[in-house]
Symmetry: C2
Subunit: 340 residues, 2 copies
DNA sequence: TTGAAAGCGCTAACAT
DNA sequence: ATGTTAGCGCTTTCAA
């Protein structure tokens, strides 16, 4: 491995001058720099990261913690975060929690042990108090995404769940449905709860009464969506919903499978709409009516918020960014048979 | 931040003794260790990673480079690798290349700049010579997965593409199909080429002639599968294939969408089978006939191979592990209407 | 069983 | 414009 010292020996300059050349420091003669840089290239020198980090007390690494990276929604957010920080010379460490609080805490601890400069976390559950119990976390900038926690204010990048949910629901009601089912994740999570509230209020505004039997709240995964859909649609005709809203893309995937297995047609027998919009969603047929693609925006917003905290350009620790939502009409809601 | 020095001050022992306590060194009195460890816990001390790495010249970090983590196949392999190395006290740095050679090289360089201890790479393309041009890579243990490169021998974890492809093809032929289409990735990649060879040989063994017009080779993505399927099935009845084999799960996703949009039924109008088996595949209906789930096995095999190289328990640099394959019957090939 | 001291490769304060 | 020096927190001889 080549070191600054080696380069100093070889070029005849001091270590510091070599360092100046590498870091584009102004106090260096152009020809000195050129001479040094040539050797740098020849030896394909890269500064030792551990040494840099140790000395500067900045690792230029951030942590990104989500339940599952094979989930397109979180995966695409992660790719957005990584792209942003890579452009800034940072490395992103990706951790998955499999929706377990224990894994989440373990991930945070392992990241802190590496003295990362900041964390972006999609938290599990609803209580934020456990975060205060994690040693040293208070000194590390933290951005939460997708889900709001109880407890002291924190930095968030979220979507307007209530409004977006009302957007989807109202659209379905516009198609004349009066029995709309709602399939969501654990209701104690703000992301599920707020989506549910938006759904209920849209029903209320339309003068429809709210029917508890059309609501399912379980885990966020494919299996959960499959089971809930089978259950809701397995009831007799006239009782069962004529439209379904899914609060996440894995739930939707499971729902499509269940609907297909029941031999029902989308949107003729059952109209469908869904939150989230990872690429895999566009592979479904008919193409689901969903909200706009905000994955990259969430990633970028969380990343730039975190960077401004790391650079101390921002000291407030109760920042909040709400990513705007819009309706994307597909062929699953009954708007037009042509759209797939 | 707490340091060894702080702990030494507080406990009254030397830095070295504290270090011994932390690392379970035998040369330390039990009660000394107990006293030190209590303070370690109280201060929730974790050794500084940068300092450890700088001093020991081992970062206990490995790199994992794949085209795309939102692709379930690579994503699940990645989670397997991460799980393995996490259990060994290692960190896994995940990088994506978006199927670009340039991004791949940039990722390798950025990992080497961090002095990671080893790399697991799912390479793009077919030529391996560019790897020899990457400075310092030769000193870092490297495992290639999924795709074999030309050039000098390297360490591989692969599947038996020819055999697995023949397995899928022969099964389709057993259903009486004589016009079987094959949709794959870039034919210059060994993974695509070998799957194609297996397909052709299975046809030959069945006494069927090989029809070039039933083959499509493009990118590995959803879009590629969609376009290729539309093209193959858009030809007139009697000419078009009655069965399709997809060489990757994104290709299959695109294919399902195309088949659905054409208003064709699986397996009645068109029988389908596919390589790879990420979780999302089981959300399709009818459930596709595929190969067994080997994602976690590939990850574990690559990870343990890499670890033995890092630990120098293995010095051979032309290792090879072939993950065995099996056929998983679904409802997409026409075996039984019951199976979904 | 314990401790002292050197040094990993780098950055930054302070010379010159 | 360039060089000297101290030290980040840890591991590792070597000595006691």
């Amino acid at each position: 491995m080549t070191t600054l010292k080696d380069l100093a020996m070889e070029t005849g300059f001091s270590i510091k001058t070599v360092s100046r050349a590498i870091h584009d420091h102004p106090d260096i003669k152009a020809e000195t720099k050129a001479a040094i840089m040539e050797v740098v290239r020849k030896r394909s020198f890269t500064p030792n990261w551990a040494a840099q980090s140790l000395r500067s007390q900045r690792t230029r690494t951030i942590g990104f913690i989500v339940p599952d990276i094979t989930n397109g929604f979180f995966g695409e957010i992660g790719m957005g975060v990584d792209a942003f920080f890579r452009a800034q010379g940072y490395t992103t460490l990706i951790c998955f929690t499999s929706n377990s609080r224990e894994n989440e805490i373990a991930s945070i601890r392992s990241l802190l042990a590496k003295s990362i400069d900041g964390i972006i976390l999609a938290p599990v559950g609803n209580s934020g108090e456990y975060l205060d119990g994690v040693p040293n976390l208070a000194d590390t900038p933290l951005i939460l995404i997708d889900n709001r926690l109880s407890g002291p204010p924190r930095n968030y990048v979220l979507q307007d769940n209530e409004r977006n949910s009302a957007l989807l629901t109202t659209h379905m009601l516009g198609h004349g449905h009066s029995r709309v089912g709602f399939i969501s994740g654990p209701i104690e999570e703000s992301s599920a709860r707020e989506r549910f509230v938006g759904f209920r209020e849209a029903l209320g505004k339309a003068g429809l009464s709210f029917d508890d039997s059309l609501i399912r709240s379980g885990d966020w995964g494919i299996r959960g969506g499959f089971d809930a859909t089978l259950e809701l649609l397995g009831t007799g005709e006239g009782i069962r919903p004529t439209a379904l809203i899914f609060a996440s893309s894995p739930l939707l995937l499971g729902g499509y499978k269940a609907i297909h297995e029941l031999g029902l047609a989308i949107p003729e027998d059952i109209a469908v709409a869904s939150f989230e919009h990872p690429d895999v969603i566009d592979a479904l047929s008919p193409r689901p009516t969903t909200l706009g693609k905000i994955e990259a925006d969430i990633g970028a917003a969380a990343a730039s918020m975190l960077l401004s905290l790391i650079d101390k350009k921002e000291t407030d620790t109760s920042l909040e960014t709400i990513i705007p939502g819009e309706l994307i009409i597909g062929g699953s809601c009954g708007c037009a048979a042509l759209i797939h």
